[in-house]
């Protein structure tokens, strides 16, 4: 993502004026502020603002649990306890505001997470730029043959080239016509709110997205997951790296209990107990369906 020099100058300016504040400050997050972290071919994520840090999570928990929380020796232990026992409200006491540039089809998945605040660039009001996501050759994946909702290996040879040509040519042609339709040069010009309908879903949009840490973790658990579409996963990965610098203890607990953890059903727990007692368990005797059994095998390796 080549930032315009104007944009870069604005970032440089914002980064050169620290102000004193009495608020909680997270040094690991200050270093990310305003800087655009490139994602995909033209996208980015950048932190615009944040509220709170690891200590703010504990502070809120201690309002709730009063003197009781003193028995937990330290902040990291308390944070792990809260995460393990699904105490969501202390994590809601941290908040982050991101500026994200992303393809429309990614934005459509992203927006399904309702508990967040959003200001999106309005194509009703303004003119979209000529920027489209074109996958890198390695990311031009074939439809999975085992999973309706997944991908297989990258396409190769002529097939790959044809796909790339279609994506590029159609994007350019649609954008040419978009520009021509809204042009007021020698004609009235179609309303922007209508002309935008000609633009394919790989065009880039951008928004400000503000969310609390609990809901952000929920988003990251689903979108940094191996089953998420690659094009949204790279955004989730970029955000994970920022959160790790912002609230290292909370992120560590999230990594262990959510990203690296798994939820087992009552049936699965019964199987584990039997297996640990030396009993043999098969799909047939497990009470699980084939798909469930396969997933269970994946979890216990």
């Amino acid at each position: 993502m080549p930032l315009s020099s104007e944009h870069q100058a604005e970032i440089d300016d914002q980064r050169s004026h620290p102000t004193p504040t009495l608020r909680a400050t997270a040094p690991g997050m200050e270093k990310h502020l305003y800087t655009a972290q490139p994602v995909l071919d033209h996208g980015f994520v950048r932190v615009i603002d944040y509220m709170g840090d690891d200590a703010a999570i504990c502070q809120a928990a201690r309002v709730s649990y009063g003197r009781g929380t003193k028995s937990v020796q330290n902040d990291e232990g308390l944070i792990r306890y809260l995460m393990r026992h699904w105490h969501s409200t202390p994590f809601e006491m941290c908040e982050v505001k991101l500026h994200v540039k992303l393809p429309v089809f990614v934005a459509r998945q992203w927006i399904r997470h309702r508990t967040a605040n959003v200001n999106e660039y309005s194509a009703r009001y303004s003119i979209l730029d000529r920027e489209f996501y074109i996958p890198a050759p390695d990311d031009l994946a074939a439809q999975s043959v085992v999973n309706n909702q997944g991908r297989g290996a990258a396409l190769t040879g002529e097939e790959a080239q044809r796909v790339l040509r279609y994506l590029q040519d159609d994007a350019m042609r649609c954008y040419d016509h978009y520009e021509e339709m809204i042009s007021q040069d020698g004609q009235q010009g179609l309303a922007r709110e209508l002309a935008r309908m000609n633009l394919p879903a790989n065009i880039y949009t951008q928004w400000y997205w503000k969310v609390d840490l609990h809901n952000l973790f929920h988003f990251l658990r689903l979108r940094a997951d191996a089953h998420a579409q690659y094009e949204i996963r790279v955004y989730a990965d970029a955000i994970c790296a920022m959160v790790k610098d912002w609230v290292p203890a909370a992120y560590g607990a999230f990594e262990d209990y959510r990203l690296g953890g798994a939820t087992l059903s009552g049936r699965a727990l019964e199987c584990i107990k039997k297996m640990l007692a030396g009993e043999e368990v098969t799909q047939e005797t497990s009470g699980m369906s084939k798909g469930e059994w396969r997933e269970f095998q994946g979890v216990i390796g």
Copy 2:
């Protein structure tokens, strides 16, 4: 919107099997159930289910206000009182589930209303149909010259024809390539989750949308408004007609206090008081900006 005969048969079947229930039933809404109300060229809205009626709003209010509400003579009076005084929770006690088919660029506006439940057709999982919104000639509006976010009169002549040709040709070409890219005929076939990015924003999608009456009224106030984009307004209008049959008293109050009402600022109220007292007020003496004054004139006629 020509429904497929298969789809129509399914609707006919659903409409031919009434079951006895002890729940509150709204006769005006029963007649809408399952039937598809056409909107735009290929879209529709149809009611899949509903909960509650005018009486359910009053019943919930009477839980809150106990004996006190007995002083309001009748349900309609109580409902008007609740609407006038911004009592939102009794209206939340009614719920409706709609099946909507709509262009993607309309869906993108619609989804910004967060307090609702949605299941959208997944283009990651399934293949989208070749159906695109192409505006009728009368709706092919020029960009407004006074409002960045509005439209003027319909385009005419060659300009209109060129726009229609672009919209139609680009949609068809993009869809041809979409089909070709995902085809597994003699090739691997691009993943659906990638191929969909080539489809322009006037392609139709569909979803189940479930919302409570308070939040539906909020949606309708914004989207049935003259400033809303025509293509979402026609959906809002279709829903208004259904809601009027479902909860006539609540809809009547909504029409008077919200759709037909206006919020005036403290400054505007001061002006009205002066004007009623016979004083002359101009934009300059009103304390309002030019835009505000123009809008104020619009309200008081």
Copy 3:
């Protein structure tokens, strides 16, 4: 909970007038409609209305996944798949409205579940009844000595009797004074909105509570849990019994994957893998804290 005869007559009346509807109907839920299920000494839960059934969950999922879902043989298999993979939106397509009578201190816990609609009896507007929760002798539990937030065995002997006497006498005296303060007999009478502040937290209130099935399951997982306070757990248990009759397949999946399941951390999964491979693992080598290890032992028995 002795229902007043007036109340019972109203319920009988509501239960005697079935109406034909085209909506989805759940026979198992119809039998619960309006009937008050007693909870604690004066409380109850009763179903006022519902929307959807097991089939409605699948119907919504099939909008999302289109033809793809056909591969799942039946509704129950699909519902288990959705629950296992945290697909929340299809479960949001069902909705239930309950009338609940409950002590204020239980209501204060309950209301923390924000994604629901509520109309509570207003003690600002109306006069509360003289009804207080007084625990049965078996439920008069001592403070836990191992858990700040738990209970031990029931109090006995004189201590138990003193506690009961305090609870009963204080409730009666506070209510006597409440009545006396608001009385307009020979005096002005204190405003209700002020007088209510004299009433202890075991007084009963009531509300209409409307929630979708996904959020209801979330509520039930936390409140039907062994760690929830007994006085809210009995409400959750009563609701579980209703949900089981309403959406048996969804409830079955919820029971296996949520109520009977457990979430294991990455560290815990590593331990299980080692143990299944015959390796010995102790708290020291597990990387877990003592509390975590104890909980882990509880899960794998």
Copy 4:
């Protein structure tokens, strides 16, 4: 509210350590940070953290409206435009976290505002302090004779004294018994989660409450209103004073369009048009109910 010296020392400490930050900083809000603003006899509100300022609202709006917003000359004009046209999302880009100490009956009203994050002191886990709200003599209001939900003049003489005595004595006696029941001195001690049920609703609790500016304005419009109960209005008033220092332009617009404004129905607007045209309008010819007409008269003075 006499702060404990320990608490005051903690505040002094927090206020003496400014840290440099690159984030947006609101000087007017920095001066409020951590300081407790007294409310009622033992309550307070204090700002723990904030995100954003007037400029952040405009920044987010300009992401949405792009170059279009440049035509609005300045930030204040843009903010007034956004408020007037119900653009809620830019205001959601500011966030504030408050620490509030408040009587339980006020907390019960407050919590009905669902779109906020809360961590409340847990009486299940910890022991509540002996602090109760006892109204000042001037606030000991009689029940309104015209409005079920309002108050009249203050009680006087013996009646006032009896009310005060009841409130004080009942609070002290209930708390004495609470302490006695949980005591583990020579007895087991009742579980805290049970003992708390003996405490009346004027006992103080406390919480951290975090909310975005749009939802805060919604809260303030309802709770700083003349119809709100006095005991919550004083909290709303204290918060208004803080918001005015934090985002002066947004607060100014809120004051003019929401606090000082009014929503008129379609019928009311028709009446105003007629009246401005010199026609006489009475309740009978207005189409309004008596209550509605009285309120209308109140608005147009």
